[in-house]
Symmetry: C2
Subunit: 593 residues, 2 copies
């Protein structure tokens, strides 16, 4: 049975030592002194490890069941949800005006990682509520906010997002769900939505569905889509629950993973809906939450890698099999632990160096989201918008790969469900797909974000990396060779790929699009290389200054060295693939395949 | 619901056009004229597509059930097994002396791919029987052969391999199962074995377990292991079934995939066993079958990629979503099919170019196994033994990756079990683990096979590639640039890595072992690059000679170009990772992780 321990120490290192959040000059950050931070992280670590992690396998085995229109969540979920609500975790970074705790999004992100590691399917109930909260908070009228937000902040009511229909996923312009205006200003929503996570369940008194639909007579395609609030139970003027709305769950899907979360087909049969934001501006309203939603999914990739790694590491230390070729390490035992074997270490170090680099990248992005929201910093918004598809695509791809590698450490036992490693891989798999499949992230990155504001944001990224290298040119040779030189090379490869797209892609857009996936990975590796160089510098300086946690900082430096030496060389191959252009990709007609 | 069509045309191209098997001067190959070959492949294609493929999802959903010691296979499996037996497919490459059809192993491999694509869990029942058949055929007494083989060739009796115990997988020296000699020359086998595929089921009259166990008083570790025949029902002198043996199934495992195959815990309680081969030489007896067993698993990697690709391709042509950025391809429809999008093509071309290259590599290896067995060709045996860990490790890793990529083409539907793409990925996952986890393959390759006979076999591989390049130096510039130059570069990278291991690895074995996994992939890419160069040459020549199947040969050339341009650049990065050495891998103590 797998276990989970929240990586509090590592989070503290990033937040306190690398990012120095307390002095970051962002409203609210000054309050985040190390003691307060430690209290939050430790408390959340305890809750997720003791309450949520033990329910993870139960959620996977039991799944959700639908009977007579009622969805039952797995045993223990409801009780655990009550504990999460009582602890105030559901509204940690929500607006105090509506009962939230008003902490920065960055803290919500750290806490969110723990929820996603300990029980991804469970965490989605509150995660989706948070997404719906954000949409109403950003686009709702004051009345709508007052009606829905307090109950959603507390998760007495949960939320959903309804985008996909059977015939349209990425291409929402094909949407058929209709919203017919009524005399009283409401709309009658009619249509079928699929893949609705937490669409129906037994853990909340009401479910607030946000539904994309078309008002008849509006513009064609995505420009005619509007967003609606469609509650399961209508809400009376006094805030009490009224009539049941005309919507129902058609079925729940049998999925590869996240069995503890009910993925519903939702049928709207003239359900009462309330316009959220402006008519026909539904896509725009959705997009304002996109950065957070996609960061949240990237976080799931990291989170599943983290919990899978923890268990693989424990197994590698415990399981006795074979002998160290350079001499027995456990001579009195029947064999040495797995961890003596170089290839097992290669596997574990891949995981560890990815996870810690990815965590730093996500935290940096979360800080930029705070800078944007709390300081109205447009530059931070531009840069984080560029990084979001990288975070979503690269971290979920690699997070899944790492969960699969962790499973591999267990040998045959990794394939047996009882050991729990299969669940991590199966759960992690969805993160590559939902909230925009990773191919769509690559398209967003190369087809949209690169060129935004005349390419200003990617230039800003290069400038930041360049400045870091320049600022640290006095560091010793060892650091230069281990960190700065590989970072410089990766950044150079990324710049060359960017240049190739600008030159070749303008003549032939397919040259850019055919290389977009490789570019997303090239960017991801470079970004992680940059995070590692930053962290290594902090660790090295701490060691030179005689830190009282030498062990932690030494390990950090060594892990960073691994990433630079053993992962970053991928950038050269990715550049070569990109500059091979689109001809090999596009040469076949559809019939020739 | 996924479908399967046997890739007969592609197999014919490799066997007839590339390998020219009929004139290969291997006993039995001269009979393989194109008509005969077509008849076999088409017949098997029909059986696997019409009978086995439709049972694949049923097997996954129902799984096997254990009740009162009896294992029930999924609905339809038993009937299908009868059809497979009636068609003579179970003994296609078995010895005619025992009822087999005596066809080359190469043909068994082509047929085996179809079984593994259409229904991997089902195919394992006969696949494991074939493995046990081979062991008895190679090491049994004439009496043993006559007692067991005819029934195993027909699959009236099936077979299993019992190696793993709860505390020992790779490290079989830790084995505890005992074999106590009896006065009548038999042994009493006592112990528990786990992960026994097809250990118990309802499709055969008897199950012949091959069990590794230790005779008390024998040498320590793997040198004291012997191999035993332990039938479920003892066999009377007249060949009829006698008493039930003292063995039973303890439980069947809940697994990530291959649910249609019963993975059993087997308990032996003083069961009667018969020594197979010599006392204490059990490991050697197992190893004689290792090449075939591991090639068979590599084949599963390819096979799952093939069937996943077929369905992803069909979906990409059918599903309408978005528009071609260079102009609508389906202007009268609501959207263009997915296949217009460059990143979808990148995904599909990754799959297609892997699959066809992998098939050529496996068929080449199967031919070398025939050369060894039928012509006693030690050189072929040496080279194929070198390639086997590459085939097992690289093809199952990449096969799984490709099944995951195929799943990705489906977007959200890929995650829903009903669509079948999840099963391909889940089933493919086991191939990276069993028959020696892929890390063990890498160790076998670098720690054992590279140095065999003074490195003669890896040198032979380089020589073959070099000769091919030299023989084709008169080909036109386009071919040189697209195929020979990348092949040369990949081969150079592989040679550099080999040299690095020889120089650095002798001083520090960890330098070789820490890079072994990357080396396995570097070798795999180079081998597939070589296969593609060979196939491209044949296709190009056919086109120049005015072949009547220009479409097929053009597609082949284009697909090969894709592999060389878009996959082979990986070799440079792998070399860089390898030559970064073992320091970053080994630097942390176990406690520092």
């Amino acid at each position: 049975m797998p276990v989970y321990t929240a990586p509090v120490r590592d989070m503290q290192f990033i937040l306190n030592d690398v990012m120095n959040i307390q002095s970051a000059d962002i409203p609210g950050y000054a309050d985040l002194d190390p003691e307060f931070l430690a209290a939050i992280l430790n408390e959340c670590g305890k809750l997720t490890a003791d309450v949520l992690a033990p329910l993870n396998a139960i959620g996977d085995t039991q799944g959700c069941t639908l009977e007579n229109g009622v969805v039952r969540t797995p045993d223990g979920f409801k009780d655990a949800f009550e504990q999460v609500k009582e602890g105030g975790w559901t509204g940690i970074d929500c607006d105090p005006e509506f009962g939230g705790q008003g902490l920065p999004y960055l803290i919500g992100t750290a806490v969110g990682e723990m929820f996603a590691s300990s029980n991804m399917a469970f965490g989605m109930y509150q995660g989706l509520t948070h997404g719906a909260y954000s949409a109403i908070h950003a686009h709702g009228t004051q009345e709508q906010k007052e009606t829905y937000l307090p109950k959603m902040v507390s998760c007495d009511w949960t939320g959903t997002m309804n985008l996909t229909e059977p015939h349209c996923g990425t291409d929402l312009g094909l949407m058929r769900t209709k919203a017919e205006p009524q005399a009283d200003g409401t709309f009658k929503i009619t249509g079928q939505k699929i893949f609705i996570s937490a669409g129906e369940h037994d853990m909340s008194d009401n479910i607030i569905h946000l539904v994309l639909a078309k008002i008849p007579g509006g513009p064609e395609g995505v420009k005619g889509i509007s967003l609606f609030i469609v509650p399961k139970f209508l809400v009376n003027d006094d805030g009490s629950l009224g009539a049941r709305n005309s919507l129902s769950v058609g079925k729940i899907e049998e999925k590869m993973g996240i069995h503890g979360n009910a993925t519903c087909v939702m049928n709207y049969d003239g359900a009462t809906g309330y316009l959220l934001g402006q008519e026909h501006k539904g896509m725009r309203a959705m997009f304002t939450m996109m950065n957070e939603a996609r960061l949240g999914v990237g976080l799931q990739g990291l989170a599943q890698a983290e919990v899978a790694y923890q268990n693989a590491l424990a197994y590698a230390k415990d399981r006795l099999q074979g002998r160290d070729v350079t001499g027995a390490k456990n001579p009195d035992g029947p064999a040495d632990p797995l961890i003596v074997h170089p290839d097992i270490r290669r596997n574990l170090m891949d995981q560890k160096s990815f996870i810690e680099g990815a965590r730093a990248l996500i935290f940096w992005a979360a800080q930029m989201i705070d800078q944007h929201h709390r300081s109205n910093d447009a530059q931070a918004d531009g840069l984080v918008s560029l990084l979001i598809p990288v975070i979503k695509g690269f971290l979920t791809d690699r997070g899944f790969d790492m969960a699969v590698q962790a499973q591999q450490v267990y040998g045959g036992h990794g394939y047996i469900e009882e050991w729990g490693m299969s669940q991590f891989a199966r759960d992690a798999r969805i993160a590559m797909i939902y909230e925009g499949a990773n191919g769509v992230q690559a398209l967003d990155l190369v087809g949209r974000k690169l060129a935004t504001d005349g390419g200003k944001h990617v230039m800003a990224f290069f400038e930041i990396v360049k400045s870091f290298i320049a600022e640290n040119k006095e560091m010793d040779e060892e650091f230069q060779a281990a960190f700065l030189a590989p970072l410089k090379q990766a950044s150079k490869d990324l710049q060359a790929a960017t240049m190739y797209f600008m030159q070749s892609g303008t003549k032939n857009p397919n040259d850019a699009l055919a290389g977009s996936y490789d570019y997303m990975h090239l960017f991801g590796h470079t970004a992680l290389g940059f995070m590692w160089a930053r962290m290594a510098k902090v660790a090295k300086t701490a060691l030179e200054n005689g830190t009282d946690d030498a062990a932690f900082n030494k390990t950090k430096l060594t892990t960073g060295h691994y990433y630079m030496a053993k992962q970053l060389p991928a950038t050269g191959a990715l550049l070569a693939k990109i500059t091979a252009g689109s001809t090999p990709v596009m040469a076949l007609t559809a019939d020739q395949f």
